[in-house]
Amino acid sequence: MAGHASKQIDAKTLWGGKTSPFSTSYGKLMMWFFLVSDALTFGGLLIGYGMTRHAVDTAWPIGEETFNSLPFLGHGYPLIYVALMTFILIISSVTMVLAVEAGHRMDKKGVVKWMIATIIGGFFFVGSQAWEWSHFIHGSEFGKIELADGSQAIVKGHYGEVENFTIIEAGHHHSKGDVVKAGSHGMTQEDLDHDYRHAIAEGHVEGDKIFLHDGSVGKVAKKKNEHMELIVKSDGSEYKIGDKIEDHEKAATMYSKATTSGIKDNVIFGANLEQNEYGPQQYGQFFFFITGFHGFHVFSGVIINILILLGAMRGVYHKRGHYEMIEKTGLYWHFVDLVWVFVFTFFYLV
């Protein structure tokens, strides 16, 4: 800010010791140097991501295909959620800079107020990221399917929910003639669809039969999937990367053929470190590492902010005569926001 930094000092005094040539305190300078090294880490990660993406190119998933859900509202909202997360982080950066500004006026009340706002913003961001990870790990309603020619495709469309399983062969729990549906056997609609997807991934669905955990066999009644579209993500003997099967009927038939084949892992839901619904395996690894590493920074930032808030409330900095501690933690917090700006662009937008 103003003050010493803008005063003219001759070079001999400046570089001759006692005063800092940068006119900043030791602590602030070291925070900057730490941030440069941390920025190099994130830069390296993002550039490594870019390199992999350039090598894989067309098979790489598009952000708006992968991230298109909102909590409570379902699918069909490309990028809105991440945009919201970005906005939350920007706002918490603003409240932080307001806390710094209040500190420069020795306004203890203002510092406490804005620090609390910043911490709330940080918690919201970490929570949003947890939701997004959970969504990414569990996957979409359709999953990625392997087609008859060996190619793999991701699926878009309107999901038709499962109506019920009618038991045709008894097991430990279910007897013949039982109808498992939403509202019976303690099942919700979500449980029913979840169990069906799980059975598909395990290869426990053959034709219209589902083999349940207790050894019983059920007949599946399910609403039709509509507006189906397949996007090929890896080559097979017939379809190549980037091919789209946009004929809804044909896509629906191919999809149901793949899901009812009874072969394990013919359909993959979600992503983990071994398999990945959205595209190449490295996509999942980079997603987990980069957003995870960033989320870890946000989390530690929130913890540091809480400690500094406690210090400010106890009047530690007021007694010291300046609120530079707020400025230093502020630098770290803005840096977290800065990294997110780049993650947002290169992971979600481009």
Binding site: I80, H104, D235, D337
Partner: protein
């Protein structure tokens, strides 16, 4: 322990209410700017499909807008713009040179791998 040989730089940044008002005005301006840029980015991403003719233009606008946002965060929120010139350059120049080099070498290499080693496609 109080040392009398150290200049207390931390006090330099103090300012009065009047100056604070001006600074807050600037903060709100940057807030609005960052928000608007984010909205524009999302709108572009939602409206223009990847692979369409306008996509390269959109892609480069994303990159430029991101650098614009980053610039405002570093210079305004992190107050690097208010620091001494020597410090600004010590922070920015080594970083930018190294990152530019890394971007060049890695993306070039990545493209070459993709072209000459087709088995990487669709791993």
């Amino acid at each position: 322990m109080i040392r009398d040989d150290i200049y207390e730089y931390s006090l330099d940044s103090h300012h009065d209410e009047e100056k604070g008002k001006k600074l807050r005005k600037k903060i709100y301006f940057v807030t609005v700017l960052l928000t608007v840029v984010t909205i524009v980015e999302v709108a572009l991403g939602a409206l223009i499909k990847q692979g369409s003719g306008a996509w390269p233009f959109v892609k480069w606008s994303f990159i430029i807008l991101t650098l614009l946002k980053a610039g405002y965060i570093v210079m305004s929120f992190m107050h690097l713009g208010d620091e001494r010139k020597a410090m600004r350059y010590v922070i920015l120049i080594p970083y930018l040179i190294f990152i530019a080099y890394l971007i060049f070498i890695c993306l070039w290499e990545g493209t070459a791998v993709g072209e000459n080693w087709p088995s990487t496609q669709g791993l």
